[in-house]
Symmetry: C2
Subunit: 218 residues, 2 copies
C-alpha cells in the first residue's frame, strides 16, 4: 500500500551525475513531446539519455517521480513569467492587467503544446507532492498579488478562492482549445480575458454581502 515517493531520490554530487540527471530529464521531455504517453517508458528514456536503466532509478525512485520533476519545472517557468507580468502591469488598469495574464497563460501552453498538455494530464492523475504544492501556491499567490493591486481589498478568504477560480477558468479554456488544431494565440487570449474579467465583474455585482469589497480601484 505504501506508494513510491514522487521526488528525486538524491541530488547529484559530481558533475558527471548532474549531466546524467539533465540528460534523463531532457530525454523524458523529448519523448513525451514526440511519442506521447504511449511511447513514454523508462527504458526509452534511459536509452535516449544514453544511460542504463539502473542510473535512472538511482536518481528517480520511479517513473512518476520523473514526470513530477518535469511538471515542477514547467510550473516554475510559468511562475516566473507570471511574476514578471504582475510586476510589469502594476500601475496599469485591471483590463490591461488581465489581458497580460491571459497572454502569459496562453503563450506558456502553446510553447510546446503537446508536452504542456501531457504534463497537465499527468498532473491531474498524480497526487500533489510537497514542493509541487509550494510552486502551485506561489502561482496562486502571484494572482492574489495582482488582485490586491487592481482591486480594493476584499476579505482574504475570497481572494484565495477567486485566484483559484481564475486559474481554473484559464486552464479550462486553454486546455480544451488546445485539444483541437493549434488555436490562434491572440483570439484564444481574448477569450481567456473575457472569462477572467467576466468572473470578477459578476462576483462583484451578484453577491451583495460577499462581493461588496471587490470594487475596481478608483
Amino acid at each position: 500500500m505504501t506508494q513510491p515517493a514522487l521526488f528525486p531520490r538524491k541530488a547529484p554530487r559530481q558533475s558527471r551525475s548532474a549531466a546524467t540527471v539533465s540528460a534523463i530529464l531532457e530525454a523524458a521531455a523529448h519523448i513525451l513531446d514526440q511519442r506521447g504517453l504511449e511511447g513514454y517508458n523508462t527504458n526509452a528514456v534511459a536509452a535516449r539519455a544514453g544511460v542504463s536503466i539502473g542510473s535512472l532509478y538511482q536518481y528517480f525512485p520511479g517513473k512518476d517521480a520523473l514526470t513530477v520533476t518535469l511538471i515542477r519545472r514547467d510550473h516554475e517557468a510559468l511562475l516566473a513569467a507570471l511574476a514578471a507580468a504582475v510586476e510589469r502591469t502594476r500601475g496599469a488598469r485591471l483590463a490591461e492587467g488581465l489581458a497580460a495574464l491571459a497572454r502569459v497563460a496562453v503563450d506558456h501552453q502553446l510553447d510546446r503544446p503537446r508536452l504542456a498538455r501531457l504534463l497537465d494530464i499527468e498532473e491531474d492523475r498524480l497526487p500533489i507532492s510537497r514542493d509541487s504544492h509550494a510552486t502551485i501556491a506561489a502561482i496562486a499567490a502571484q494572482v492574489e498579488t495582482f488582485l490586491e493591486q487592481h482591486l480594493a481589498p476584499p476579505d482574504r478568504e475570497h481572494l484565495t478562492v477567486t485566484a483559484a477560480d481564475l486559474l481554473a477558468i484559464a486552464r479550462g479554456i486553454i486546455d480544451t482549445a488546445a485539444q483541437g488544431p493549434i488555436p490562434d494565440r491572440h483570439v484564444l487570449a481574448r477569450r481567456v480575458r473575457w472569462a477572467l474579467a467576466g468572473y470578477l465583474e459578476q462576483m462583484n455585482g451578484s453577491s451583495p454581502g460577499a462581493g461588496r469589497g471587490v470594487q475596481p480601484r478608483p
Copy 2:
C-alpha cells in the same frame, strides 16, 4: 503502430452475455471509484464481475475501450440532465437559466466525485472516438440551444465557440474544486454561474465587431 479500437468489440446476443457485459461495466465503475486508477486493472475487473479475463476481451478489445464505454455512459447521463434543464428554463431569464445549468454540472460531478474525476482524467488522455464525439457534440448542442433561447441570434461561428468555452469554464472550476475536500454544492454552483454569466457579458461588451449580436433578449 495501429492502436487497438476503443469501442466494444461486439454487442451481446443472448441474455446471459448481456448480463456479462453489465457485470463487467459495473465492476469497472466500482473498482475505479473504490480503488482508483492504481487498482483498476482488467484482471481485477473480470474477477469482481465474476467472469474470466477472456470473457472481458470478448466484448471489449482492451482496457481503454472499457473505460471509454464508462465515459460515454457518463456523458449520456449529463446530456439527459442538461437537456431537461434547458427544456425547463425555456421561458426563464438568462441568469436563472445559467444557474440551472451550473447546478446540473455541479450535481453531475459531485454525485460520485471520485469516479467522475477519474473518468475526466481518462477522457483527457484518450483519443475521442466517433460516438463519444457524437455525445459530446450533443452536449454542446444543448448549450447552443440554450444560448439561442436566451440571447439574440449571433452568428453561428461564435455560438459554437461560446458554447465550448462555457463548458470548458464550468469544467475547469468544478474539476479543480473537486480535487480538494468535497465542496459545498450551492457555493460551487454560484461560482460557476458567476463565471458563465461573466463570460457572456464580457463577450457582449468587449468586442464591438464580433460581440454586437449577443444581446440579452428584451
